[in-house]
Symmetry: D2
């Protein structure tokens, strides 16, 4: 179990879906950064269940408590511990799971790895674990704002199944994204996407999609060759999120269809700055930011929890069938948008501090 | 600069394309593992320039020297240092690069990050750096063979530009892949792909594509939630390779088009083992291997070095034009196949040792 | 701020003396280890203020709450988070400290490092931080008992100022140490030591001393050359404790008076085991345990908090005088005994798991 | 085997006493630091065997080769690899060692840990490993000089057995230390110490002693609470050196004899700076440098290699006797002086970069 992320700005998350609570300890945060509890809570509210009609109806207040590291609204340079209590405990609802492995969940693999497993719900594999990440990123966001104001991190739903949003990463704004419950950046697709999610949910089924994210005004020079390339750390950050199956940056997989002549990004001086006239690189070259917008996409599979009966096996090794029931997100993407932003923010903050150490 | 990869089986690479040499120090390798220098050399030969008519004609022998850590063919448990001397030094050929940033290379970003840059060639950003990774993976390969015999790691060229190979990850073998210089797993596509690469090279242009990789017979239980999930570490490993723009595992991006009912992998008991009847998960669930084949794909952009004149800027901040010349790979994929296998092997070995620590 | 200790069995502590609380997150703990909350509480009670007439009279219940990672008395392999609330908050008592640097405390250096400081008490530098270590070590203790039963870790007060206890590390037992409130291993010195502490306290002064620790039945082979030698990690562990000024193992500083002929530990076979007939090495050779008892000593300076007026400066840079007042430990050693054991236990557990990874 | 030291300025050493060579890879070194090979060689020459009549007569040139990371005398920000070839290989001289465990060496413990051992000489446990540390520290020295000029690191022989040097850490200079082959800081003791070493050597015996080290002009604020306290990292650094048995800082073990009233270091403003009027703290408070001189001492045991016959056992588990023969240092301290300085320099440089990351 490795619950630590980051090299210089490091976070350690903890907690299962049922038990005392979930949270995070942040270590390596610079001192004297203004951080308020409401800022943290604001980000938690963006990922909270029950926030709209298209997400899981579970009622989890997810109220953050600050245990250490911040005093009078300023970071002390000491570890910042944040705790969110678990409140909506219904272990009874999960009795069946204790013995039957839910398909495409982590039940079987946790048993295979540890020989023991949280008796109810997703345990440590629950998406509740991301609460710690989001809380930590709310702190990191303030580090960026203080040390290098102007960096923007924005994510949106790029596609739900085959429904694609048309979004310009250079101009999209937070207001447009947050103005709709599906958190897509394309107003024209909002209703269609919502209808799709509702229809799928009515059918007891689920859907996935793609989240796109842009980092604007990132200074050139962030990212550490060789292994901690900026895109490598972003890829790891995104693939560490539950339900993700893919990551691509800049031209990504479709860039493999171009020739080098089409794909290379020519340099030009613009207003005294080295700029590229295209951005197939996605803002990163040789693992280091080049000052252009960093653009990447993350694939989320359809939610594994569905309302159908499914073939599975018991932990005792017998074939059986799992009944479909319970509350779930038919589509996790609207709630995953702030989580993608959170992970990108953590990666950036870590690399900003790492760069400070050597320059 | 972070040139360390791995937590328990750790490698540290070093070296620029021009200078004394490139290499690796491996730390954390278990003792008493049989490793011979010819085994290491064999893998280096698979990634070497000049090995066939479709790769760069540069002549680099890439001869490995073992400096420490192995005695009489057995690892000592001490750091294993391997050095490959640089021999083909032609700094004169790179004079222009010293002042003009090559588009979509790392010249500008290294300058932005460090304020200094190796005067010739790619310096540290050169693909020569991967020599250290391949040498280390040849050692790791023996660790796997010794501690958990039977694990297979095979990669092949899945596509060159729009040319797609049809390959069954469950049955493809090394002989098929190595029998053709393009290292695709589909004999029917060999000639077409070779022709495409030759045509593109004749035009002074370049192409990219997708490499697919399978890990067969991986024991269930490898991978460390939360952040060091197996797919997260694989994604980082692959995105740390030069020229990569994307990673997907299992159903990947196309899996976002399915519904949960179609995507979930039902469990069934087969010969006393917990197995899945589909493998959209790509062998990993909740960040932990489930015993099925681990299947992933990596997108490589077209080589940035092309023979055309390109718009660029000088390090002094003036617009200019870069002349196309020099030797290059019109398509890096054939040589990248052993490197993808190497990185996958390193990730697996590290996680195997990490699992040993707790079970 | 680096609040992480350990490589494979890792702990992250958090919390200031005043604020929500202090605690620890343990990562890398093997699964299925039996751990009960009372076991953890028992160790916390041994370090608690107010436990006897010779320690600080502050009343801190230090009640541990288990937030995650343990279910039905067994570890899950997930991070174990333990929280101890701060209860005895009297910030008013510390007003003077906010502006005057207490001599030989960390007030000035925290300001120098962070440019900000917890407004009251020791903040993060408070010995309350060690609560997290002791709680984590109570878990580690169970890991040792499960994976390698029989390892004993015992510490005792070896000296208070010039008062020296005579203790045989090979035979001393926990009962003897715990039977007296000064926690010395020499019954003949108990009263003298208690009288010294009381006398010093009556005078508003303080004393230090030396704690000795033995690890018995440690298997040979623990410790990682080169930098993570067992004695190096023990030294770091002990010097990371507040008020420590020195560490020595085996013959230590007095061993420098011997010649090699006197100092070398001859090997002999005893009952089929490789043993040494002396133990000047202190159970460690070349950084690796040799199966003999590991014996080391830790120097604790006199408590910095005294009841006298002292010359000091303000945070504004003016000479001033600090009034002596408040509650304090005239001698920290009795309460430091379980903390020394805790750090030794953490080092051992980490190295046991590291050894498991490679053998 | 953990051959990595440092968090931000990280070094990885490699190599056995017999084999291709020993060396180091430095990662995290800031770019554009002037470093010349002669500077590195100069420090290696200070630790080299055969440099004077009181050290081992082995002839090892220890010539450093720079493999990567420095170009035209400036660091590139890339890993700096330095290799020193092994030349004086006389494996025949060590045949007996292959089967008989040398008392108080690491022969037995390496076998116990790894189940295999370098067939000749000390292998990885040889003091030759410190070559990599000294080379790395020569680079680190330049980092300090560039980023924070004026920091001085000076070590000297404080005692040989019972012979004590009188040295004022505030005024001692390098010239005084280097002017005598025993590297003591007290001219009055030079001849006596040399005579003692020669007499002991004539007798085939060996002696140890204490090395003292001062770091002057260290800026306040270095050191990372909680676990990476400056003194904790120094203690670990020193105890990671071969033959060390103890570490103390400031008042050390003798400080335990004082009361708090005597021990506390009062603060006074001096020339606008916060200073202490005593320095029992040894320049560190709460794990952070306070701007005063950092003073510590390291105990070195008598060299384990002696010319007497000794009782020991074979690797097959039989009692036997080891013949005394070979070349050795009767006293390692003169050659250990530059190594102690090296480790202190590495610790400082790492903490300077870590502090840069957050301030």
């Amino acid at each position: 179990m490795s619950s630590t992320f980051g090299h210089t700005f490091r976070i350690h998350t903890f907690g299962e879906s049922h038990g005392g609570g979930v949270g995070v300890v942040i270590d390596g945060c610079p001192p004297r950064i203004p951080v308020s509890l409401p800022q943290i809570q604001h980000e938690l509210d963006r990922r909270r269940p029950g926030q709209s009609e298209i997400v899981t109806p579970r009622k989890e207040a997810d109220t953050a408590e600050l245990l250490s590291g911040i005093q009078d609204g300023l970071t002390l340079g000491c570890p910042i511990a944040i705790l969110v209590r678990n409140t909506d405990q219904r272990p009874g609802a999960y009795d069946e799971m204790a013995v039957k492995y839910r398909p495409s969940h982590a039940d079987y693999t946790y048993d295979a790895k540890y020989g023991i497993r949280s008796a109810s719900g997703g345990g440590r594999a629950s998406a509740r674990e991301t609460i710690g990440r989001v809380a930590a990123a709310a702190v990191a966001r303030q580090v960026l704002d203080t040390l290098h104001p102007g960096i923007q991190v924005l994510a949106w739903v790029k596609s739900i199944q085959d429904l694609n949003a048309t979004v310009d990463p250079e101009t999209i704004d937070a207001q447009t994204i947050e103005s709709n419950i599906v958190r897509t950046g394309d107003p024209a697709m909002v209703e269609t996407m919502i209808e799709r999610i509702k229809a799928i949910r009515s059918d007891g089924n689920s859907v996935g999609g793609v989240i796109e994210c842009v980092i604007r005004n990132c200074p050139p020079g962030l990212g550490e060759p060789i292994f901690d390339k900026l895109e490598a750390d972003l890829a790891k950050a995104m693939l560490s999120l539950p339900a993700t199956k893919g990551f691509e940056i800049g031209s990504g997989f479709s860039g493999t269809l171009l020739t080098g002549r089409e794909h290379n990004d020519p340099f030009r001086m613009v207003a005294g700055q080295v700029r590229t006239t295209r951005n197939h690189s996605g803002g990163v070259q040789g693992g280091i930011s080049n000052g252009e917008s960093i653009i990447f996409r993350v694939a989320f599979k359809p939610t594994a929890t569905i309302m159908s009966n499914q073939e599975t096996v018991t932990s005792a090794g017998e074939n059986t069938e799992l009944q479909g029931r319970g509350r779930h997100d038919a589509c996790v993407l609207p709630r995953a948008v702030p989580i993608v932003e959170a992970m990108a923010t953590l990666v950036l903050t870590d690399h900003l501090l790492r760069q400070k150490a050597i320059r």
